[in-house]
Symmetry: C2
Amino acid sequence: MATIKFSKTKKVSKGDLLLSVGDTTLYAYKVESGCLRSYVIDNAGKEHILQFAPEDWIIGDMGSYTNGDPSTIFIDALEESEVSFISAADFRDFHSLEKELLVEMSIKLRNNVIAANKRIISLLSATAEERYISFTQTYPTLVQRLPLKLIASYIGITPEYLSDLRRKMAKK
Amino acid sequence: MATIKFSKTKKVSKGDLLLSVGDTTLYAYKVESGCLRSYVIDNAGKEHILQFAPEDWIIGDMGSYTNGDPSTIFIDALEESEVSFISAADFRDFHSLEKELLVEMSIKLRNNVIAANKRIISLLSATAEERYISFTQTYPTLVQRLPLKLIASYIGITPEYLSDLRRKMAKK
DNA sequence: GCCATTTCTTAAGCTATCTTAATTTTTCTT
DNA sequence: AAGAAAAATTAAGATAGCTTAAGAAATGGC
């Protein structure tokens, strides 16, 4: 099967910032090993995690790639990682992609839509505890690998409250 | 420009249910006029609106179309509407689509990803008042057309609280 | 192996948002 | 236009989840 053509890989260290809000040189990243995340910082200075990207995931700011605007998100490395690059143009001009690549891209986009919708439903209708349980079931390996405060940020609660929840859940 | 091939249109009345949870006969809908919505019902019996689909939007349960599972959402008409149908197969087997159609589909999927991510960030980081203001700016026509309680459901708050917010905002 | 840094825990008080319920207003039906 | 149904408002009391702050535990660098 044809596959999206990526640059050769590059090693990045834990904490390295690969994309900042305002950046105009835009790439998406495919994670070969390790784990990246994308996040935003709100008016109150708080971080909110949009996506974790462990091995084999693609991460980037689709909105910016599409319309050419500066990035609205940050991307950094949560672990030592190896990544390859995909140019923004591949998201902007679907016509220029070969059909095979376009099919592959469509599948990734479709999966992204499905995952995003699930998360929206979860944020709209589930309690913090339910969202945490659901996270542990959906991403069991990430629960092991990532610090609690990042998981709290992803499910939309404070680390203190997640710590509380864990204790209450353990008591049952 | 080529366009995804839809069936001829059909009129539906306000309140008509086009898709139910558990349905296995699956179509997505393109709205020619009027407005549809998709929603889920949680354990406590409460509705949560996933999407509004006014003129020219496509609405459906991508997850089910993809893997052939029964629908996980409801879709109904919020107004007298005219819709055309698109078969689930078109989401499932991208290979069989002509390239032009695939490009069009990819663009719709990409826009869907962008919109979904915006909504996730909003749910994670904005207060109810901020989400309401943002909704009125993003969908000014829907604010006119739809009852308050549906907007409340979409932004993830109760109608009573949205009513409160409106009053407080008016006082300023 | 030690010190610094980061992460996690705990707890008390606080606030945004919800629940319930009753009333009013608007919209729909005939 | 009247009556019924749906939507919106208001208000009081409840609660999930937040804030702050301080201490404990774990991790990482040298």
